[in-house]
C-alpha cells in the first residue's frame, strides 16, 4: 500500500492545498496514522484546534487553509489528530469552498456516495406509508410463511396494479389525497415487483438485463434482523411470482420457457432460504449469505442469457 505522506509537496507553499485535498478525501485516516508514526504523536494534541486556528477559524471554514501561517500548518502535521478535529469542524460549518473542493477531488467515496443514494432510495421506498400487503404488521408473520399461496396472490395484485395504473392513471397525475388501492402496490414494490420492472417494448437482451438489474435491488437493503430478512426474502419471492405470471413479450418462446423454468427453480431456492431465515437453528448471517448466493447466481444467469441473445 502506498504511503500517503510521501506525496508531500516539494514546495511548502503547496502544503495547505495538499492538506485540504486530504481533508475532503478518502485517505485522511491513513495520512494521520502515518504522520502520527513519523512524529511519534500522542493521541491527544497538546494544543487544541481552536488555539491553532485562532482568529483565522472563520477564514479556514470559508476559504480553506491558505490563510494559515506556516506554524499552524506545521502543528496540524505534527499533531495529526488535529486534522481529524478540523475535518469535523468542516463538516459542521465549512462553506461552499469545501463543497467545491470535495466535488473536484475524485476518490473511491464518489462510488460509495452513488451507491448510497440508491440504498437510501430503497429505504425510502420501503418506508412509503401507503397501504399495501407487504406493509402488514410484523406481528402477523404468517403472511410470508406460505410463499406459494401468498406470493401468487401478491403477484397477481401487483400485475393488476400495473394494469390499472397504466390504463387509467395518466403519468404525472397522482392525487394528493389518500392513495387509492390500485396505486398502492405499484408505488411501494421493489425489484421485480416494481411497475417498470418488466418493460414490454424493449429488446430481448434489454429485457433480460433489466430483470438482472431488478434482482440486484436485493442488495440495496441488508437486513440484520430475522424478521426483516424473512420479509425481504418473501418480497423477492413474490417478485419471482410476478415474473412467472408475466407475458414476457420481448422474449422468444424458447427464452420465455427458459425464464419461467429458471424462475421456478429460483423460487424453490428462495422458499428454502425463507425457511432458513425463520429457523432459530440457522444463523441469520448464514441464511442471508445463502440468499445472496442464489440471487447472485440468478443475476449471472440472466446476464449470460442476455449475452447469448445478443450474440444471436
Amino acid at each position: 500500500m502506498k504511503l500517503q505522506t510521501l506525496d508531500v509537496p516539494e514546495d511548502t507553499s503547496q502544503l495547505s492545498a495538499w492538506l485540504e485535498r486530504h481533508l475532503v478525501g478518502d485517505e485522511l485516516a491513513g495520512l494521520a496514522a502515518e504522520l502520527a508514526v513519523v512524529h511519534e504523536a500522542k493521541s491527544e494534541p497538546a494544543t487544541p484546534l481552536a488555539e491553532v486556528l485562532g482568529d483565522r477559524r472563520e477564514s479556514v471554514l470559508q476559504s480553506g487553509l491558505s490563510g494559515l501561517p506556516p506554524a499552524a500548518i506545521s502543528k496540524l502535521l505534527v499533531e495529526p489528530r488535529l486534522l481529524l478535529d478540523l475535518q469535523a469542524e468542516i463538516l459542521v460549518a465549512g462553506g461552499e469552498y469545501w463543497d467545491t473542493l470535495a466535488d473536484q477531488t475524485p476518490g473511491e467515496l464518489d462510488a460509495v456516495a452513488l451507491h448510497g443514494r440508491d440504498r437510501l432510495s430503497g429505504f425510502l421506498d420501503a418506508n412509503d406509508p401507503s397501504p399495501m400487503p407487504t406493509s402488514a404488521p410484523q406481528r402477523r408473520p404468517a403472511w410470508y410463511a406460505r410463499p406459494a399461496v401468498v406470493s401468487l396472490a401478491t403477484a397477481a395484485c401487483v400485475l393488476l396494479g400495473v394494469f390499472v395504473v397504466s390504463q387509467f392513471v395518466p403519468i404525472g397525475q397522482e392525487g394528493d389525497g389518500p392513495r387509492n388501492v390500485a396505486q398502492a402496490p405499484v408505488s411501494t414494490g421493489w425489484g421485480w415487483s416494481k411497475p417498470d420492472a418488466l418493460p414490454q417494448d424493449v429488446t430481448a437482451e434489454q429485457y433480460l438485463r433489466q430483470l438482472a438489474d431488478g434482482a440486484a435491488a436485493w442488495f440495496k437493503k441488508r437486513p440484520t434482523e430475522r424478521a426483516a430478512l424473512a420479509k425481504r426474502i418473501g418480497e423477492f419471492r413474490q417478485g419471482c411470482s410476478v415474473v412467472m405470471l408475466a407475458e414476457h413479450r420481448p422474449l422468444s418462446d424458447a427464452d420465455r420457457v427458459w425464464l419461467i423454468q429458471r424462475c421456478r427453480a429460483w423460487a424453490e431456492k428462495l422458499d428454502g432460504h425463507l425457511a432458513d431465515a425463520e429457523s432459530p437453528d440457522i444463523e441469520l448471517q448464514s441464511a442471508r449469505d445463502a440468499a445472496d448466493t442464489t440471487i447472485n447466481k440468478l443475476i449471472a444467469a440472466l446476464n449470460q442469457r442476455a449475452d447469448e441473445v445478443a450474440s444471436g
Binding site: M1, K2, L3, T5, L6, T12, L15, L23, V24, G25, E27, L28, A29, G30, A32, A33, E34, V37, V38, H39, A41, S43, P70, I73, S74, L77, P80, R81, L84, A88, I90, L91, V92, A93, G94, E96, W98, D99, A102, D103, L109, D110, V112, A113, H115, G116, R117, R119, L120, S121, F123, L124, N127, P129, G175, D176, G177, P178, R179, R222
Partner: protein, 212 residues
Amino acid sequence: MTGRGLALTSLRGGATLGAMQSGIAVVSPSDEDLALKIAARGESDAAWRQARQACTELYQRHARRLLAFLSARVSRSDLEDIHQGVWERVWSRLPEGFRGGNFRAWLYQISRNYLSDHHRKKKTELLADAETLPATGGGSAEMQLIERERMARLSRCLEQLDQDAALLVRARLAGQSYDEVCGRTGIQPARAHKLFHTAKSQLQDCVGQSEP
C-alpha cells in the same frame, strides 16, 4: 420555522450555475427548510413526496463530506453500512429530534451518536473516542492487525534510515522547507533534495517489502 428562511446557494448543479452566469439569482431551499419538509411528511401524500425529495437533496448536499468524515473513523468495510445507517437515522429521527437551527450540526451529532452506538456494539476501537489514531484499511480484526503492523513497520523503517535522512523526513513532514532544514542542519540543499527522495523510496520499499 428556523428563522433562516431561504438561503442563496450558488454553483450547485448545472442549472443553477447557468442561471448565475446569466445574472439571475437562483434561490434554493436551505438545509433547514428541507429538514422541516421531512419533519412534516406525515401530513399528506404530497407532503410525503416532498419529504422524500428533500431527503434526497440533503443527501446530495452532504453525503460526500459525511463519507469523508466517517471514512476517517471507521474501517472501510463498515463504511457503507454506517453511512446508510446514519441517513436512515436522519430520516427516522428528524420529525422528533430536529428542533431547527443548524442542520449540519445536527447531522454531525447524529453521526457521532451512531458511531458511538457502533462502537459499543462491535466493541472495536473508533477514532473519535479512542486512545490512538485509527487503524485504516480493512474492517475485520485481521485487517486491522495488518494495518497496525504496517504502521509498526513504518516506525521500524524510519529507524533504519540514516540520521540525516530521518531528520529530513521528519522536518519535511512537519512542513519545513528545504531552506529551513538546510539552514538549521548545515546540509547542502542539493544533498538534502537527494537524501529526501532516496529516503522516500527506501521507506516505500521497506514498508511494502513484507506486505501480504
